[in-house]
Symmetry: C2
């Protein structure tokens, strides 16, 4: 005897999420079944709503609920400093430290020959366009401290050297090989403060 | 600056699930945003579908996609032996061992004075009705090996003594204080084989 089909289906969909194994998925499926109807519907709708309303900012390529994200359209943000990250999640992680008052540019990945990700697959030409439009003084390269992140940072230095006043890399306050997502606020804050200048 | 509202909402809904903290919820929310539209919709629909189509079996009070569940309506199952459990999840956990060929009765909880769960809040009168209808020879009390589970088993012994040929309790193959959900198949199988007779 198997579980009723709708439970199997829900368990399978939940198990597709990262870090959710078969047993956890089953546990979550039953937790959803035990919920009140309106609570389960709220979860179902939140998924649908997020997918429908979250777009990519046309300027920085982070997640946004508008054509241009809140950060890019905020007159209080310093448009002269662009923090370059791999992933939209990194924007929100850095924002949670409140240490950075400039704007962002999301590459949507990092150079990885093994995974077939070449520089032209990243949002680099769009960053070149933003720099060409003028007013950008500094690029803070905040790609991950992984092999791919470092390679991407070095590639960007070669592309943008001479085109902006300053190119910096966030300090290795983080352990080598670590992902930006797993850094705590203090480590990230130190990494921002101790950023090193590529032009030195 | 905060996350866009639809992401906050999704994160909050995910964080309401048991064992999902704030950080995991955020990770899952982004994983859902990174999914293809049809994959995210499949998850959203699976939640909705499960809530809409899963009902409680009118006979045994387990989860079912029909008025009467597959186990209760299966002519190959031995209707003379009823395995009494606290929770619909327990049914599926026991089913996964394939050791039991009788039918179930889900109490939908256990007696717990601290949580205000008295015997009349459980599906005990419905079990009395099933026994009164005749044909039931044995009750296997498979409530958890917790204080509440043991108390419920003892309460049921007093209620059903003399009304059925045999009342048994699954053996303490499981460590005391453990929840039925976390037992492995072998432990559960041994617990079924070594069940002790209350009438002895």
């Amino acid at each position: 005897m198997n579980l009723p089909q709708p439970i199997i289906q829900l368990t399978e969909e939940l198990a597709k999420l990262p870090g959710i194994g078969k047993k956890t998925a089953k546990r979550l499926a039953f937790a959803i079944l035990f919920k009140a109807d309106e609570e389960a519907e709220a979860l179902s709708k939140a998924i649908k709503n997020a997918k429908e309303h979250i777009k990519t900012c046309r300027n920085c390529f982070s997640f946004s609920d508008d054509e241009i994200c809140q950060i890019c359209s905020d007159p209080k943000r310093n448009q002269e400093i662009i923090c370059v990250v791999e992933d939209p999640r990194n924007v929100f992680t850095i924002e949670s430290t409140s240490i950075f008052t400039g704007v962002y540019h999301v590459l949507q990945g990092a150079i990885s020959p093994l995974q077939g990700i070449s520089p032209d697959k990243l949002r680099i030409s769009e960053l070149e366009q933003r720099v060409a439009n003028g007013g950008v003084k500094e690029l803070i390269l905040s790609t991950n401290s992984t092999l791919e992140g470092e390679a991407t940072a070095h590639y960007l230095v070669n592309v943008f050297k001479g085109r902006v006043d300053k190119i910096s890399r966030i300090a290795r306050g983080m352990p080598a090989g670590a992902d930006l997502e797993f850094a705590d606020s203090n480590t990230l804050a130190r990494a921002f403060e101790g950023r090193t200048d590529f032009n030195d």
